[in-house]
Amino acid sequence: MSELTDLTIAGALSGLDKGEFTSRELTQAYIAEVENGRALNAFTTETPDKALEMADAADAARRSGDAGPLNGIPLAIKDLFCTKGVLTTASSHILDGFKPPYESSVTANLWRDGAVMLGKVSLDEFAMGSSNETSFYGPVQNPWRTTDGKARVPGGSSGGSAAAVAARLAMGATGTDTGGSIRQPASFCGLAGIKPTYGRCSRWGIIAFASSLDQAGPITRNVEDAAIMLRSMAGYDPKDSTSINTPVPDYRKALTGDIRGLKIGIPQEYRMDGTPPDVLALWDRGIQWMKDAGAQIVDISLPHTKYALATYYIVAPAEASSNLARYDGVRYGLREQGGNLIEMYENTRGAGFGEEVQRRILIGTYVLSAGYYDAYYLKAQKVRTLIAQDFEQAFGRVDAILTPTAPCSAFSPGEKSDDPISMYLNDVFTVPASLAGIPGMSVPAGICGAGLPLGLQILGRPFEEETVLKVGHVIEQAAAFGARPRIWWKEAA
């Protein structure tokens, strides 16, 4: 059945339509891969029985002519999406045993369209990290290794999603992106990943990290699959006050391959000191592909780029410190006993949150505390206004912006764990778009000297995901990225 797991979502949908195989067969093939791929540690919870049940329902729907746009497609769900009756952990000890009595809006949309859930996939604890090393359930392995066989992190926070899709344990996966958590792991694992405009996908039922930045999106093997999945995930939700009521287009129709006359901005500030030559060379190649396709290259300036990371690392922890206050051992999850209420809180939260989460809660609490609010939080929100204005001005001149996704290819486990700031610097190209709320996508575009994938990032105007996907599709075609990781994890099993 190995050929079934080689299909893209688009390919599988067509095979299902033609009756070449059933969703049950497709799902069974993936369940076997999930079992074979346990060495990757991508899944926090496998749900094979539920998957087969959903596959059977999808097959029945297809027979009766009720097939939705994702009918019968087996997916992995980032364990940050609440799934009704299925353990939901945020990869944190503090949510021990939590089974939500509700389904997140985004996953509900996927099931409405006929998708099948293979299980929940790991992430950095509460989505705080860029390497998937902060999960309570242990680090996730990148299916990709260096040419000389060295292990690499899958990126984060949606590292389990990216590892599962890259290793063909799932056809696609949901991710969430707060400062790059879809785009950076997609880049590290040779995948397509899009963070849509803030407000495009509902946040209802997604465990919050930083509410003003969090946005869901798909991680898939190619741009067309991302377009298919995004169409199902997106949509207005009256339960989310920041959701925007605007129609969801059929994103696949945007993939025309025609970007003639489109203006592509190249921000000079992204050419940073210390960026590896591989990354810069790939970017230059991308610019050339754009020109070859008939787009017009425009040099632009996003002057506040260098302040984006510092801004992000004030705003996101501040919101997180408040969002994570609800994990107190009273209504769900872990409780560590204490002599009184305050001790119970402190014991529970001290034991339930990992080091990185605690660090961010502390910094977030500090920057909001009396006497420091103006100097840190308020200042950061003002700089954020300037960063958003940079993009607004740029988009007055260009239709999309092309940059590298990350300043490097996947790094070694432990390489950045002891130095939080060096870890944070990994988000340098992805964070500005998050702060501005604009759509951004990473597309696999090349291989670095060490034999690891590298991605290019396309940014667009708010709610112009179609332009982003269209440009991404052209890069994908030009790059003809066909490389795949060597399958080592089955031997490990």
């Binding site: 999406f81 609440c82 939901t88 945020a90 949510l95 939590f98 939500p100 009595p101 509700y102 997140s104 946040r203 209802w204 039922g205 997604i206 465990i207 919050a208 930083a210 509410s211 003003s212 009256p238 339960k239 989310d240 006050s241 920041t242 501040a318 919101e319 410190s321 408040s322 994570l324 206050a325 609800r326 107190d328 009273v330 209504r331 769900y332 209420l341 305050i342 809180y345 609490t365 909001l368 505390s369 009396a370 609010y373 939080y377």
Partner: protein
């Protein structure tokens, strides 16, 4: 009326500001679709949002915003067309989110004014600093289990208006008048039921003392006082305590205190005080609240007559005294009742009946005016029966007593009990003649009007003989004529 308090070192002035938490009258909560009803089984009026389940998000109740704006308009306050919801962060067992959604720097309502009705028709204006919307917390119960506290989240997320006064009050009487007036206004416009026993209205009281004209003293906040009387007692105790501390050479520490109802004292809550740092910041789950000025105007146009306007109208149109008018507007239902009674009748009579016999009867029965056995229509008819001489004022009292007991129609009662006033001159004359004939001594005392007081004795006799039914005016007239 001196408002100063005397101490060992001379006179002191007390400075009071109130923060009132008023539960917004609405069907569902401020940010969730769960019900707000009082007294349900524990945790049955709780949505996943109210329980702060992971990933749950707030969506604002349009009607609660409308209610806050309506209240602001009734307080003659600035309506802010742009306001922000902030998170107030602190941990407590009955605060599931770990923060309360409130409004901090940019509230929906700004400065306004409230006119207090004081003794002897005096009035005083107290400034409103602001009004904002916020979520209520759940309820902790400490007496249900020996070692555990039980938490019920039914109230969690119910909309509250926090109404903050300026420190304009100078006595416990003024604070009491403020609370009563505020409650009256809220009830007139239907934005809060003002029920302090059920906790729909609670007050935090800020008290400080100073030498008259001196700089403001350090204030203490007495939290969560739930009746007008307790607010007044707490202020009196607290002012005296602060004066004593200062006069003994001590200093007032700014702190939160609790009013102990049983002991009648305020007590420091230092335990709860520790390291309060609420880390307010705008709630990223919500957008700024922007109001359309036309919508605000519409609400303004739809405001009912407010107590002050109504009071002025009752004084002007019905000639009521300041006091009586004040009583009539103190509760919206009393005003409605009175106006129905007074319509087309002598307003003074109507007012006397309402504030006299009716209030006494309601008091005795322990019921409110809406539950009155005597309807406004029936009381009106009773006054009509007096006016058209069907019954005398004295008989009317008896009829009223029967109405209180039976809820009956006064005309029917008069008919059934045969209480109609006797105006038959011949009949009355008969009684008058008989009494004059039987009492020569009193006739002599009267002495043809030289001793006019004696006529009262004759009137009494005639009324007694007629079982109170003879028309008193006719009786008087006849007696005067016959006694010469």
């Amino acid at each position: 009326m001196s408002k100063l308090i005397s101490g060992a070192t001379g006179e002191w002035e007390v400075v009071i500001g109130l923060e009132v938490h008023a539960q917004v009258t609405s069907n569902s909560k401020l940010f969730s679709g769960a019900a707000t009803e009082f007294g349900a089984e524990p945790n049955t009026q709780v949505s996943l949002v109210d329980a702060a389940m992971p990933g749950m998000l707030p969506v604002i109740n349009a009607y609660c915003v409308e209610q806050a704006v309506r209240t602001g308009l009734a307080l003659d306050a600035q309506i802010n067309l742009y306001s922000i919801f902030d998170r107030k962060n602190y941990f407590y067992a009955d605060l599931p989110q770990g923060y309360q959604i409130s409004q901090y720097k940019q509230p929906v309502v700004g400065e306004g004014i409230i006119t207090l009705d004081l003794k002897d028709g005096e009035t005083k204006e107290v400034g409103i600093e602001r009004l904002h919307l916020e979520q209520d917390a759940g309820k902790s119960m400490h007496d249900q289990h020996p070692t555990m506290t039980y938490v019920d989240l039914n109230r969690s997320g119910v909309a509250l208006m926090e109404i903050v006064s300026k420190p304009d009050m100078r006595s416990s009487e003024e604070a009491g008048a403020y609370l009563k007036k505020l409650r009256t206004i809220l009830r007139y416009i239907g934005t809060c039921d003002g029920n302090m026993e059920q906790g729909s209205m609670r007050a935090d009281v800020n008290v400080s003392v100073r030498k008259p004209g001196g700089p403001l003293g350090t204030r203490c906040e007495i939290k969560n006082v739930n009746s007008v009387r307790f607010v007044q007692q707490a202020i009196e105790y607290e002012a005296r305590r602060q004066i004593d501390v200062i006069e003994d050479g001590g200093k007032i520490v700014q702190e939160t205190r609790l009013y102990d109802v049983a002991q009648g004292v305020t007590r420091s809550m230092r335990s709860k005080e520790e390291a309060h740092d609420y880390r307010y910041f705008p709630d990223p789950d919500l957008l700024p609240l922007e109001l359309d000025p036309a919508w605000v105007d519409e609400i303004k146009a739809g405001l009912p007559e407010l107590p002050d306007e109504k009071k002025n109208r009752l004084m002007r149109d019905f000639g009521l005294s300041v006091y009586d008018a004040g009583v009539m507007v103190s509760e919206p239902e009393i005003g409605v009742y009175f106006e129905e009674v007074a319509k087309g009748r002598d307003p003074k009579q109507a007012s006397n009946w309402v504030t006299g016999s009716l209030f006494a009867a309601l008091n005795a029965k322990g019921v409110s005016i809406t539950e009155s056995p005597v309807t406004a229509a029936n009381l009106g008819k009773l006054i009509d029966l007096i006016a058209d001489n069907t019954i005398s004022g004295r008989i009317a009292k008896d009829v009223f007593e029967i109405m209180v007991e039976t809820g009956g129609d006064p005309a029917a009662i008069v008919e059934e009990k045969g209480l109609k006033q006797i105006t038959d001159t011949g009949f009355i004359e008969g009684i008058v003649d008989r009494i004059i004939a039987e009492n020569p001594g009193q006739v002599a005392q009267y002495d043809g009007g030289a001793n006019p007081k004696v006529i009262g004795w004759f009137v009494g006799q005639v009324m007694k003989q007629s079982q109170g039914k003879a028309n008193p005016a006719q009786v008087n007239e006849l007696l005067k004529k016959k006694l010469g």
